[in-house]
């Protein structure tokens, strides 16, 4: 199984997000970067599937040179081949992002899609557009399933499960296919020390891309919404609170 996993580098924010002065981006200074939990799981899924079926786990990101840190992290965990589509920043719109990914895949393909599975996170942590995977699938004429929390691969098909109330919706799609996964599909491993060291020495395939933004959608600025400091509701100060606690358990439907 040759699997391509696409990830997006985003600032690793805390509870409160701070914007740059021009309100065009998140001020990431001092915070560091990461990828969304969905994408961490996508990378882990690729590693596990390749461990099971053989093949190559390629991991790709689009962004500036520094974004390769996230590729190194993925390789440290067990991905095989890192690909950086180098662009000035990571804020490209979903259409341009999808186009760049499609161009790359086609450039490697000789008219065929050179991967069995294209994995995406269900949505990026920052933009939350829910569509890069779908757009890539469409452009390549591949079937696409999203919101997936379980994948079984066979030679020519993928069985993918999506969690809904009370159970699972099961899709069966032919390969190659695009699959967007959700956090919870697996428990992503961390890198080992040796893995981390070797990852830093793994050469990164870098392709410079020219992004043409879509002028039909244009961000004006970002805003941090006012939030009221949430205070815990005090249910009581003794065993008498038990009834209120059980009410909450019932309300949350966890009993």
């Amino acid at each position: 199984m040759d699997i391509l996993t696409c990830v997006k580098r985003v600032p690793n924010t805390g509870e409160k997000i701070v914007l740059t002065d021009d309100k065009q981006a998140v001020d990431a200074s001092g915070l560091g970067f990461t990828v969304s939990p969905h994408e961490e799981c996508a990378v882990e899924e690729a590693i596990q599937q390749v461990e099971q079926h053989g093949g190559t786990a390629t991991v790709l990101t689009l962004g500036p040179e520094d974004a390769s840190d996230e590729l190194v992290t993925a390789v440290a965990r067990g991905a095989d081949e890192p690909v950086l589509l180098e662009a000035p920043d990571t804020s490209a719109d979903p259409m341009a992002t999808a186009d760049a990914i499609v161009d790359y895949i086609e450039s490697r393909g000789d008219g065929e899609v050179p991967f069995d599975v294209l994995l995406f996170g269900n949505e990026s942590a920052d933009a939350g557009n829910y569509q890069v995977g779908v757009r890539v699938a469409n452009a390549l004429g591949l079937p696409c399933v999203t919101g997936i929390k379980d994948i079984e691969l066979e030679d020519t098909t993928a069985t993918a499960k999506r969690e809904v109330s009370g159970g699972w919706e099961v899709f069966e799609v032919p390969l190659p296919a695009v699959i967007s996964v959700k956090e919870g599909i697996n428990h992503p491993r961390y890198a080992s020390m040796r893995g981390r060291m070797q990852a830093r020495r793994t050469p990164i395939e870098t392709v410079e891309v020219d992004l043409a933004g879509d002028e039909r959608f244009e961000m004006v600025e970002l805003e941090v919404p006012e939030t009221e400091a949430a205070e815990a509701e005090i249910l009581g100060d003794s065993a008498d609170a038990a009834s209120a606690v059980v009410d909450i358990l019932e309300e949350l439907e966890v009993l």
């Binding site: 805390g14 409160k16 701070v18 560091g32 190194v72 080992s192 020390m193 830093r200």
Partner: protein, 842 residues
């Protein structure tokens, strides 16, 4: 606490609820303070500062006595709170130089009373089965090392203070301003209201500079990164129960440690390039993904450390299933010299600093500060941590960062006792500086001042004195590092002829006003009501009769006195003097440190030199010893003080700084016919002084010793009241527990046939090799080591228990893993050289 019961006033406000703030709160309560409020911007028990991510191990042995004693005290406190786990710790050596250093660790362990042993690689392996013993040469084992839980300790300390009804808590409260009115702190403003306060303690770790700035003062530290990863799960550790079952390993040659924590191994490093932050850039609690002091690991910086960790513990760390589960650039506080910043912030009354403290010293420093605040002195002398040591020269961001950057690389380094800082040099240069540089001075730095330690231009003197110095040369590189035999030659030249020593670096302040005499009588042991022009050398004591300082005071006029003290402790001395100023404004301090330069002129020919250029009569009768008067030297209006720290006839000549160079030239020219040479601080600070048995604050004189023990009883007990009088009188009345002695080394020869020379801080042992402890639990160690060229011996100063302090008595000194015979030359303060002080009085 809801806003409605937020306190509006308190006696004491402590800012910062990390290990330090909690400890200050607890110990203030122990000392009887009530009405304390502890504020932190974060939640309890982990408000997000460095305490929350520390690796929490306690490695007790350091070369600094102060830090070792404080660590031991902290360990006791952690143990008392049931928050200490003894695991032992091992520092391993990867090379020969480090193995030597570990022997010096043994020496310090003995000096400060901490059990320790040297281990072979196989013995290390027995204790740490997963270590790669192929790459180590040995280990230094500290069996009583261990780990603590500072968050839990904080809870216990808060609970104890609350049980006394002394403490209220204000977590999640951010200080927005510290209000200062009329030079004293009056209130702390927070985002939840204003608290009026009489005293405020800044215990805010790396945020301390920001808070100090609110009050218009400075706490010189910078946030710096300490990289740490936590890897696991490790099968071997799964088998054990609890937090730690194997000794902590410090792989000091790679500036790293490996410490078990549950089924993880924490791998920490100081090896990476220094990564210094600005406090303004530290994210807030809300902004930080983890905590404000746990930014993400800078991966490239950590890579060499990763390699080193895999090398030393391959069995457990080089395993694909052992994952990096946590990785941070942990932020901690680094100061210009690596030591903490404790004490009174002298520009604002009621404002205190307790910052830049490692977890392992936290409880003790809290205790010391509480003692300082409530009784004016503390159990352990913490002068090396006095926040005032950078006063008025070392608070700039550039200075702090330069020194922090340099010091960071030495956290696990092998630091020579005389090691000099290389960054931010030439910060304070005197009027003599250019002339000294032209004479190839080798400069040392003290409190920012550049001071010649010796002059390469005097190298020819080595030939002249080769016979006298042959047996005092130091063949070993370590012994002679930061040292030159030229110092000894300059010394002999001075004793034979005359030397000029540009000893700028004094802190000088005049005490002025109608209340000056009464005020100084209250501060000093000596009688201050002397004639104008007379001087008094006097101890300055705390209430326990321990030394706060020793200094010289000259009466300039009826209501004007000049205080002259060492540059290094000048800031602290000034702080002490300011803290005791009368409230009625009848005394002011007038700082002259930067206005005056000081040129020492000493030796048998000194009078001839001075007489040839001074307009005034400088004969013995006209200018007796220990007096001062105005003199005109050439064109320079100067003030001369006939005193000597090297035991010679001569003067300290004070002139306006801008005339200093002319003064230097005049004396140099006048001295030429009298065979004058420049000499460095090596003579002034060590060789000259040690032959004369002169004590130095911070070495022989400390809070833990009183004047009777130091042999400085010549003032007797004056009728007037002064600080420390009661304890001082008691000390003079009885037999001292210990006595300051001067010893000489009888045999320098090591087992490898090399002559070795001690450098200070070595343990003094009985001839059976037993450590020596006096009735107060104080141990005998070398307070100063230095060569006395005129007596032809290498001399050691040390306190010995009174029953052992006999002239001629034999002891051993342990140095770099070997023991050398020494004997007591002098008990008490009698000079070894010129015991009757005839030279000074000539």
């Amino acid at each position: 606490m809801s806003t409605k019961d937020f306190p509006t006033s308190a006696r004491t406000v402590i800012i910062g609820a990390g290990i330090v703030g909690n400890s200050v709160a607890y110990h203030l309560a122990e000392q009887g303070r009530t009405d304390i409020v502890l504020i932190d911007k974060g939640p309890l028990p982990d408000p997000g500062g460095s305490t929350g991510h520390a690796s929490n191990f306690i490695f007790p042995v350091e070369h600094s006595k102060e830090m070792t004693l404080l660590t031991q005290d902290s360990r006791e406190q952690f143990r008392d709170m049931d928050t200490f786990t003894r695991s032992g710790g091992i520092e391993v050596a990867r090379d020969e130089e480090r193995l030597e250093e570990l022997k010096r660790r043994m020496q310090s362990a003995k000096a400060w009373g901490e059990p320790a042993e040297m281990l072979t690689p196989a013995e290390v392996k027995e204790l740490v089965p997963y270590i790669n013993d192929d790459i180590i040469l040995g280990g230094f084992h500290s069996p009583d090392a261990g780990v603590c839980d500072p968050l839990r300790a904080g809870e216990v300390m808060r609970a104890r203070a609350q049980d006394k009804g002394a403490l209220s808590l204000a977590p999640n409260t951010e200080v927005t301003d510290i209000i200062v009115e009329g030079g004293r702190v009056t209130a702390v403003e927070t985002d939840r209201g204003t608290i009026e306060a009489e005293e405020v303690i800044i215990a805010a770790g790396l945020w301390s500079p920001k808070l100090a700035k609110m009050a218009g003062v400075e706490i010189p530290l910078t946030p710096a990164v300490h990289q740490m990863i936590s890897v696991g799960p490790i099968d071997l550790f799964e088998e054990g129960e609890g937090e730690i079952n194997y000794p902590i390993v410090r792989d000091v040659d790679t500036q790293m440690y490996e410490r078990q924590s549950g089924n993880d191994m924490e791998v920490g490093s100081y090896e990476h390039r220094p990564i210094l932050w600005d406090v303004e850039d530290v994210p807030s609690l809300d902004e930080a993904p983890l905590s404000p002091t746990q930014p993400p690991l800078t991966h490239d910086a950590f890579e060499p450390s990763m390699q080193h960790a895999l090398e030393i513990m391959p069995e457990i760390l080089d395993d694909p299933s052992v994952e990096i589960r946590h990785e941070i650039d942990g932020l901690l506080s680094v100061t210009p010299d690596g030591m903490p910043l404790i004490g009174r912030l002298q520009d604002v009354e009621g404002l205190w600093s307790c910052a830049a403290i490692w977890i392992k010293e936290g409880p003790a420093f809290g205790k010391m500060l509480a003692q300082l605040m409530t009784q004016g002195y503390c159990d352990i002398d913490i002068h090396a941590s006095d926040v005032n040591r950078f006063y008025e020269y070392g608070n700039s961001r550039r200075f702090v960062k330069n020194r922090a950057d340099e010091g960071y690389r030495k956290i696990y380094g092998i630091i020579h006792p005389a090691e000099q800082w290389m960054s931010s040099r030439e910060l304070r240069t005197s009027a003599f500086y250019n002339r000294q540089r032209d004479l190839d001075a080798y400069f040392f730095e003290a409190a920012g001042w550049e001071r010649p330690q010796w002059f390469e231009s005097n190298r020819d003197l080595l030939t002249k004195y080769s016979a006298e110095l042959a047996h005092l040369m130091r063949p070993n590189e370590w012994d002679s590092r930061w040292w030159s035999p030229i110092i000894l030659a300059e010394h002999l030249h001075m004793r034979d002829h005359v030397a000029m020593i540009g000893d700028t670096g004094f802190t000088i302040f005049d005490v002025v006003g109608p209340g000056a005499l009464d005020y100084l009588e209250r501060i000093a042991v000596g009688r201050m009501d002397v004639d104008v022009g007379r001087s008094v050398y006097t101890p300055i004591l705390a209430e326990n009769a321990g030394f706060v300082s020793d200094l010289t005071i000259v009466r300039l006029a009826e209501n004007r006195f000049r205080v002259i003290t060492g540059g290094g402790m000048g800031g602290a001395d000034k702080s002490w003097f300011r803290a005791h100023l009368p409230a009625d404004g009848s005394v002011v301090l007038d700082d002259q440190t930067s206005a005056l330069c000081t040129l020492g002129l000493w030796g048998p020919n000194a009078r001839d030199v001075l007489a040839s250029v001074a307009e005034e009569d400088v004969s013995h009768d006209a200018f007796p010893p220990y007096t001062a008067q105005d003199v005109t030297i050439g064109e320079v209006d100067a003030w001369a003080f006939r005193i000597s720290y090297v035991g010679e006839l001569g003067w300290e000549i004070y002139a306006p700084m801008e005339q200093g160079q002319r003064l230097w030239d005049l004396i140099a020219e006048a001295g030429e016919p009298h065979n004058i040479r420049p000499a460095g601080m090596g003579v002034y600070g060590t060789t000259g002084r040690i032959e004369k048995g002169y004590r130095l604050y911070g070495h022989e004189l400390e809070l833990e010793y009183d004047p009777a023990e130091a042999g400085l009883t010549f003032h007797g007990v004056k009728d007037l009241d002064f600080i420390g009088k009661e304890a001082y009188a008691e000390a003079l009345d009885g037999e001292p527990i210990a006595k300051m002695c001067t010893l000489s080394v009888d045999d320098h020869m090591s087992s490898t046939g090399e002559r070795r020379f001690m450098l200070g801080s070595e343990p003094i042992l009985t001839t059976d090799g037993e450590e020596i402890v006096d009735d107060h639990g104080r141990r005998s160690y070398v307070t100063t080591a230095g060569t006395g060229p005129s007596v032809g011996k290498h001399l050691l100063m040390a306190y010995l228990p009174t029953d052992l302090a006999e002239e001629g008595e034999q002891f051993l000194v342990e140095y770099m893993g070997e023991q050398y015979p020494v004997s007591v030359e002098v008990v008490g303060s009698r000079p070894l050289f010129d015991p009757k002080n005839e030279r000074i009085r000539s």
